[in-house]
């Protein structure tokens, strides 16, 4: 075990190096990802290590990048395409929804689309307009896609490797707010983490806190503050947004009887709604209080001066926990 600590961004980079080294079919493409190493430097060094044929700077057209990747994937390559910011992915929706998600199904397995879409997501880095979106729910709604959001360097590494291995299209969203936060030791051992599984980050018995992506950070803070008050919170990082590991969530909620869901995406039809509905279907009579959601309001991410108010913080989460704990 080396002592070097890696940020989430470096973990992504490490996984890309590893995947490209292990499998010649893996190609990386997108805007500014080659010579420049990506605007966040997630693809740094790949061009030098693997050459311009496998690390491809594309013209500036997101829909084109997606359509191109689908054609490459149908030919047996494993494209890892980058959309520079999640707020720029909308032109590519047609290709991702109509084709990437359906190619295997509509050919009854004759053609497949082993494609990974990497994109930085989320608010909190004082970025310009359209650079702070959290729209994972748009993709979670689409049959045929997988949606994965890591919340730590180790999970970014293991989940990205698993996403690249996966024979179907995976939307892999990287929270920009975590990119350079909390470096952690990481062994570059190629170990994959399971897709479709939640990660229980902290065990507890009084209530269940469910989150993913950057909000996991504030959720863990809230759990620590609850612990100081003698309240034992279980914290679950959903990680795989689609498909959802409902079994793990259900088991936790049956145990604690109380649940708060935290996400930075807007509330209406957010993934929190899906989780809450599913938990009501499965565990209504084990709940001691209505499930609470702590989310962004239904507004676009404001320009950065008001950004801190937009994002849920630990205090907001604690308030929801109090409501759940004190219910009748």
């Amino acid at each position: 075990m080396n002592d070097k600590k890696y940020t989430l961004l470096e973990a992504v980079n490490l996984a890309l190096h590893r995947a490209m080294h292990e499998d010649d079919d893996v190609v990386v493409l997108g805007e500014d990802i080659g010579v420049n190493g990506g605007v966040f430097r997630a693809t740094l060094g790949l061009r030098d290590a693997f050459g311009f044929k496998r690390v491809i700077d594309t013209p500036l057209a997101e829909n084109m990048i997606a359509g191109l990747s689908i054609g490459m994937a149908a030919q047996g390559l494993k494209p890892v395409m980058e959309i520079q910011f999640l707020g720029f992915i909308y032109p590519a929706m047609d290709q991702l929804v109509c084709h990437a998600a359906r190619l295997r199904n509509r050919t009854r397995g004759r053609l497949a689309c082993p494609l990974v879409v990497r994109s930085p997501m989320g608010a909190g880095i004082r970025a310009p307009e359209h650079h702070s979106e959290a729209v994972e729910a748009l993709f979670a709604h689409i049959p045929g896609l997988r949606v994965v959001i890591p919340s730590s360097p180790a999970r970014a590494y293991g989940l990205l490797l698993a996403a690249i291995d996966d024979p179907d299209p995976v939307i892999f969203l990287e929270p920009t707010r975590l990119y350079r936060m909390n470096p952690q030791p990481l062994e570059d051992d190629g170990r994959r983490l399971p897709l479709d599984s939640c990660f229980t980050l902290r065990e507890g018995s009084d209530l269940t806190l469910v989150s993913w992506g950057a909000s996991v950070h504030e959720t863990l803070q809230a759990a620590a503050m609850l612990a100081e008050r003698g309240i034992s919170a279980e914290v679950i990082d959903v990680a795989s947004i689609k498909p959802l590991d409902l079994d793990t969530l259900e088991a936790s909620v049956r145990k604690t009887g109380r649940c708060v869901i935290v996400h930075e995406a807007p509330k209406t039809c957010g993934v929190g709604a899906e989780i809450a509905a599913s938990l009501y279907e499965r565990a209504l009579l084990d709940l001691h209080a209505p499930i609470q959601r702590v989310t962004a309001p239904d507004i676009p991410p404001p320009l950065y001066r008001l950004e801190p108010y937009y994002l849920p913080d630990a205090g907001d989460i604690l308030a929801a926990c109090d409501a759940v704990l004190n219910y009748a």
């Binding site: 190609v27 044929k53 496998r54 491809i56 594309t58 013209p59 057209a61 829909n63 084109m64 997606a66 359509g67 191109l68 990747s69 689908i70 054609g71 490459m72 994937a73 149908a74 030919q75 047996g76 390559l77 494209p79 032109p91 047609d94 290709q95 109509c98 084709h99 295997r104 199904n105 509509r106 050919t107 009854r108 397995g109 004759r110 053609l111 497949a112 049959p143 045929g144 997988r146 996966d166 024979p167 179907d168 479709d196 795989s240 498909p243 959802l244 590991d245 409902l246 079994d247």
Partner: protein, 365 residues
């Protein structure tokens, strides 16, 4: 046609009566080649007529006919090599049949069964299924061509679309990347003058659609799409360039959609009978037939034999289509993901219960 200020090539070898307008390409001296083209076109038309009849009697769903487009598809189908990749749009029966997609598979597709896009023929195995969202396939072709280029393979991706598709961003984005990377891809635009009810003249302000290639930095040209010899000759050269690292081409084939957009459309709502009658004078099959007859390569007896062969093939295909039971309802889960995610197992169980309930219900009637 508006007058073009950009001098793009326009190629036509035969007039509407099948008479050569000048010297013909050398390969035309090979009668088997030209007769083969004719057979493919006629086979497509007979298939088309039969499928429309099946639709009218409720035996298949909506169908997009290829009536009047047979020369373009026959040229594509005869020129592509087995390991090339064809990315069709939805008016490509002629080319698909030549790629080895079976009539039965095509009936499956239009008859509401995904197995129609499973393509058993080896040469069609990497071909894309026909594409419904307009122009999106142009980008897939660039991706396929990029894969060829990365691997250093002398293979070609050929993609088709209609005139309306050239208005979409996907088409223009595809031309842009194809030109930038000099990809081994050929864009065949079947300009049949109508995008459902919208005529060519209000689709695009450029005098030709082929000239969009200029913006991509590579050649575009027009060809008489009702002249099979002209389409083959120009497409042959475009495919050859692509295969030898000389980059992409847009080939705009000028045709006319003699049919409704699909069986769900009624073209009499937006265009005149006079226009359609006029277009029939230019149609591709009669033209090539006259040429063949004039050369002594075709006659009534051969025609009758061809029609009889095609009818027999069609009947076999229809019998096979109608004798094949629908997929088991649980098959809907089989190919969305390589394997159905365990996390979604509950949905599958609920669907099984739905089926059991409905089948159980039928028993009580």
């Amino acid at each position: 046609m508006p007058h073009s200020r950009i001098d793009l090539p326009y190629t036509r070898y035969l007039d509407p009566e099948g008479r050569p307008l000048g010297p013909l390409p050398d390969w035309v001296e090979d009668s088997t080649h030209v007769v083969g083209l004719y057979r493919a076109m006629q086979r497509t038309r007979l298939f088309d007529q039969k499928v429309i009849a099946l639709q009218r009697t409720g035996r298949i769903g909506t169908y997009a006919s290829s009536l009047g487009q047979e020369a373009v598809g026959a040229a594509i189908g005869t020129l592509l090599r087995a390991d090339d990749v064809f990315l069709p749009y939805y008016r490509d029966s002629a080319a698909q049949l030549l790629r080895g997609v079976s009539m039965t598979e095509m009936l499956f597709y239009w008859g509401g069964d995904e197995r129609g896009s499973r393509f058993q023929a080896p040469q069609a195995h990497a071909d894309f299924p026909l594409c419904v969202p307009i122009a999106t396939q142009a980008l897939h072709a660039c991706g396929v061509a990029t894969a060829f280029k990365i691997r250093g393979e002398a293979r070609v991706a050929l993609v088709t679309c209609g005139d309306g598709a050239t208005s979409k961003g996907d088409f223009l984005e595809a031309l842009n990347v194809a030109g930038t990377w000099q990809l081994p891809v050929v864009f065949v635009v079947n300009n049949n003058q109508w995008a459902i009810s919208v005529p060519r003249r209000i689709q695009c302000g450029a005098p030709t659609l082929a000239q969009k290639a200029i913006g991509g930095g590579f050649p575009g040209e027009q060809v008489d799409g009702n002249d099979a010899i002209a389409v083959v000759e120009r497409l042959r050269l475009a495919i050859d360039r692509a295969r030898h690292g000389k980059g992409p081409t847009v080939l705009e084939c000028i045709t006319y959609r003699l049919c409704d957009h699909t069986t769900a459309d009624d073209a009499t709502r937006y265009r005149s009978a006079e226009e359609v009658n006029q277009a029939w004078q230019e149609e591709p099959i009669k033209r090539l037939q006259k040429f063949l007859v004039e050369r002594g390569w075709w006659d009534e007896k051969r025609e009758q034999a061809l029609v009889a062969d095609c009818q027999a093939e069609l009947q076999q295909a229809i019998d096979a289509y109608e004798a094949t039971p629908a997929q088991d309802p649980q098959e809907v889960f089989e190919h969305l993901y390589a394997s159905w995610p365990a996390a979604l197992a509950e949905q599958r169980e609920q669907f099984a219960e739905r089926i059991a309930r409905r089948e159980g219900g039928a028993d009580h009637e």
